[in-house]
């Protein structure tokens, strides 16, 4: 797989910060970033974490701009000089970076439980509840007023499920259906995973659900588990879901398969960034302390990590040996 263009560390594009400011500021009381930033543990949104995850995601232009199923059009050929080609490649890299902005990773939302008024007089008059939605166009969906008048006269704020349903009904969006497709049920996800369509499932999930809804989190976790079980990390590499997957695996300390896959594909820098991120998130583990004392780099870091933290130490040693032999033969020849 030829990776075109530079994979250097990029400054976070301004749009990423704007997008995340929007979601982080809209108050979720148990927001992951704010909660964890108070203690020394780094959050998904930190600059350092984001740069590491972005480096690991890779930038394979052929995969990012892989043909999406569209209407049939004859191909468009252009005649360019070298300079124009470089310019076009540079612009393509910029667009690819925008396409690789990672979707947010948030904690599950707290249930809403707020009563606005209690009118005992209305008890027994109605048989069904009324759901009132504020349809003013300029309000963000998070701040919209959606209230429910129960048959017993209580006027309360709507639950998250009711809110989602009303917003799906009144504000249709492309890719978001009023009734979530049965694809997202657990029994049907297995079928899609058989066909290796993890990325499509995740894209559909992002279009359909909110990032902090339990369905979104469940689908994402199922997908990451399946990928980790079958070691198909390459399906998500160079997509915007790779960062989220790495975050999930590191938090649950299941990084061995990913490490072996990276070494087998000769991506040593990715492997070192993975281990650096692991140490940032679990600073009290033994390999973190050893690495900090010895100030290790590269292959030594991986060896220390393999000895102390990993379960599949043998496999990692084998992969490292194979890699070193390959380096030796290639440098010799």
């Amino acid at each position: 797989m030829a990776a075109l263009g530079a994979r250097g560390s990029a400054a976070l594009p301004a749009r990423l910060r704007a997008l995340w400011g929007l979601l982080a500021r809209r108050a979720l009381a148990a927001d992951a970033g704010e909660g964890r930033a108070a203690k020394p543990k780094p959050a998904f949104t930190d600059e350092a974490v984001q740069t590491l995850l972005y480096k690991m995601t890779g930038l394979d232009l052929h995969k990012v701009f892989r043909p999406v199923k569209q209407g049939l059009k004859p191909p468009n050929y252009k005649l360019m000089t070298e300079a124009q080609l470089e310019e076009a490649t540079r612009k393509a890299i910029e667009e690819a970076k925008v396409k690789l902005i990672m979707p947010p990773v948030l904690n599950e939302r707290e249930p809403i439980d707020d009563v606005l008024a209690e009118d005992k007089v209305l008890e027994g008059t109605e048989t069904a509840k009324y759901v009132f939605t504020d349809l003013s166009y300029s309000i963000p969906h998070r701040e919209r007023f959606i209230v429910v008048r129960e048959p017993n006269g209580v006027l309360r704020k709507a639950t998250w499920e009711e809110r989602d349903r009303m917003i799906r009904i009144f504000f249709p969006k492309e890719g978001r259906r009023v009734i979530p497709p049965p694809l997202f049920k657990d029994e049907n996800l297995g079928t899609v995973f058989q066909q290796d369509r993890h990325e499509d499932v995740l894209n559909m999930c992002i279009a359909q659900f909110e990032p902090d809804s339990p369905d979104y989190i469940r689908v994402h976790h199922r997908t990451y588990e399946d990928i980790e079980k079958r070691a198909k990390y390459d399906l998500l590499r160079s997509t915007r879901h790779f960062g989220g997957m790495v975050w999930y695996l590191i938090n649950r300390k299941k990084t061995d398969g990913l490490l072996i896959d990276m070494i087998n594909r000769d991506l040593l820098e990715d492997a070192t960034s993975l281990i650096t991120l692991y140490h940032m998130l679990h600073p009290e583990c033994q390999s973190a302390k050893e690495a900090k004392e010895g100030n290790l780099q590269g292959v030594d870091l991986i060896k220390v990590f393999a000895k102390t933290e990993s379960q599949r130490e043998g496999y990692i040693q084998l992969a490292l040996q194979a890699y070193e032999e390959a380096m030796a033969t290639s440098s010799a020849s």
Binding site: V121, A128, T133, L135, S136, M166, I169, F170
Partner: protein
Amino acid sequence: AFSAGSRLLRGYRGSHVVIRFALGGCTNRPFYRIVAANSKRARDGKYLEQLGCLDPLPNAYGEKVAGLNLERLRYWLGCGAQLSRPAEKLLGLAGFLPLHPMTVTGAERLRRRRQREQQPEAAPADGSAEPGTAP
């Protein structure tokens, strides 16, 4: 007051803007649109602006769905629009306006009627049971 709302009504004499329900849908399937219209217009005729909708039949989740564009509603109320009685009752239920007094009166009347229906059932039931139990 001379505002944009009253300026639009130059064609009619003695009319005003009302916010009311316009009925749509099919047989045995009503659907109301909450609409700001001239009072002289037909109920389902040309309106100034649609401010929301109400589905009077409960959906699969047992809810009657209503949408209200509160921003525009506030604009028309500020222009001097009047509300029809069902619109006032709906906004009272929503919490935008205080509860309509007729809603409260209707609820109390319903409760009293139900009580009266229960008492005559209780009284003849007692009357018919007693000769059986009493020797």
